[in-house]
């Protein structure tokens, strides 16, 4: 009736650096499920894992790079996108994935985010949004809801957060989606679509952070935050990114918001080369 086994091989282990598992993330952290979705999406999109390169920044989400068995780069805070830009331009055959957190990508990395989207460089950004800086103990960031508590907003956050899909879509991204880690199948499908699609793809993934954000905001267990996603989420594919801002207790609009076609940075670069005096391929 009751079964307890210590087993050797979860099929997903072939994509993990199992010599580093169990990972450092807290019980109930959503980064794990998001990573699982990502790994399954690689297969689903039919990519060659040898050509997938993952670049991350600093933070809990940034640690993903160290746990998956792909060419992976754990770079400096906020700078995963320009690092990935260099990798991609120097070898356009690589499938670039930037996997990092809200503070890393949107605060210190904010400038690189909007410029990468502007360029429509072919890469997929998976932005884990747990509404705070988790690794350093739960400080507020540019996605922390107005009024939320954090260690640097002990009386409640007095700043408005970004509406990330709106920001990234306005900057020029050609694929924009938001899911919570509870929307496992949709997230996996979205990541697979983004990986297969040329251009700048951005997927915001809402994740519980029970140890710091959750604990400071009346959601002490991961389950509490997951239940809150369950109650508040509405799937609205095709919603106008303008209308999907998040608040402390309001609705969470998830879905695929933007999926358009536009020449990528490399397309434009190739057109430029034909104008240069000696158009030569590498």
């Amino acid at each position: 009736m009751t079964k307890m086994l210590t087993v050797d091989t979860n099929p997903i282990d072939c994509y993990l650096r199992v010599d580093r598992i169990p990972h450092i993330w807290c019980a109930g952290c959503g980064i794990g499920p998001a990573t699982g979705c990502f790994v399954r999406a690689i297969d689903r999109a039919g990519l060659n894992p040898d050509k997938v390169a993952v670049v991350s920044g600093i933070g809990c989400s940034g640690r993903v790079a160290g746990y998956i068995k792909l060419d992976s780069f754990h770079t400096t805070h906020g700078r995963a996108l320009p690092f990935a830009t260099g990798l991609k331009l120097a070898n356009p055959e690589l499938n670039l994935v930037v996997f990092s957190g809200d503070g890393d990508i949107v605060a210190i990395g904010g400038n690189h985010l909007i410029h990468s989207a502007r360029r429509n460089i072919d890469m997929t950004v998976i932005c884990i949004n747990n509404f705070n800086y988790g690794m350093t103990g739960g400080q507020m960031g540019p996605t922390t809801p107005l009024g939320a508590r954090s260690t640097t907003s002990p009386y409640g956050n007095f700043e408005y957060p970004f509406n990330l899909p709106y920001l990234v879509a306005a900057s020029g991204a050609t694929y924009v989606a938001r899911w919570t880690v509870l929307h496992l199948r949709e997230l996996e499908r979205s990541i697979a679509e983004a990986l297969a699609k040329p251009g700048f793809s951005f997927i915001e993934v809402l994740s519980p952070c029970p140890t710091v954000y959750g604990r400071q905001n009346k959601l002490p267990r991961g389950l509490d935050e997951m239940h809150s996603y369950q109650e508040r989420s509405i799937i609205r594919d095709g919603a106008d990114p303008k209308d999907v801002e998040l608040s402390l207790n309001g609705p969470i609009v998830v879905g695929k918001f933007v999926d358009i076609e536009r020449p990528t940075l490399w397309d434009c670069y190739q057109q430029m080369l034909t104008r240069a005096s000696k158009p030569k391929k590498r």
């Binding site: 009736m1 009751t2 079964k3 307890m4 086994l5 210590t6 087993v7 979860n10 099929p11 997903i12 282990d13 993990l16 598992i21 169990p22 990972h23 993330w25 807290c26 019980a27 109930g28 952290c29 959503g30 980064i31 794990g32 499920p33 699982g36 979705c37 399954r40 880690v181 509870l182 496992l184 199948r185 996996e188 267990r221 991961g222 389950l223 997951m226």
Partner: protein
């Protein structure tokens, strides 16, 4: 709606990885898994399979586990 999975499914839990978050037990649509008061070797509250025959093989537990600590096999693949 089927009462059972098309083929019997085995639920494997890696007790060294489980951190007792409760997601698998909470979100399993069939109540196959339950949290217990027993502690894992690492000191976390452990989850247990309480009725494997109810398992549909939907794979939600496998996908939602933050620790890559659960996976499913169908009977032919067992040793």
């Amino acid at each position: 709606m089927a009462e059972k999975a098309p083929k019997p499914v085995k639920v494997h839990i890696d007790v060294d990885r489980c951190k007792g978050c409760g997601y698998c037990a909470e979100f399993c649509p069939r109540g196959v898994l339950k949290m217990t008061d027993e502690l894992s070797p690492k000191g976390y509250d452990m989850v247990k399979v309480v009725d494997e025959t109810k398992c549909l093989g939907c794979g939600l537990c496998e996908a939602i586990c933050p620790e890559f600590g659960i996976y499913l096999t169908t009977e032919e693949k067992e040793e």
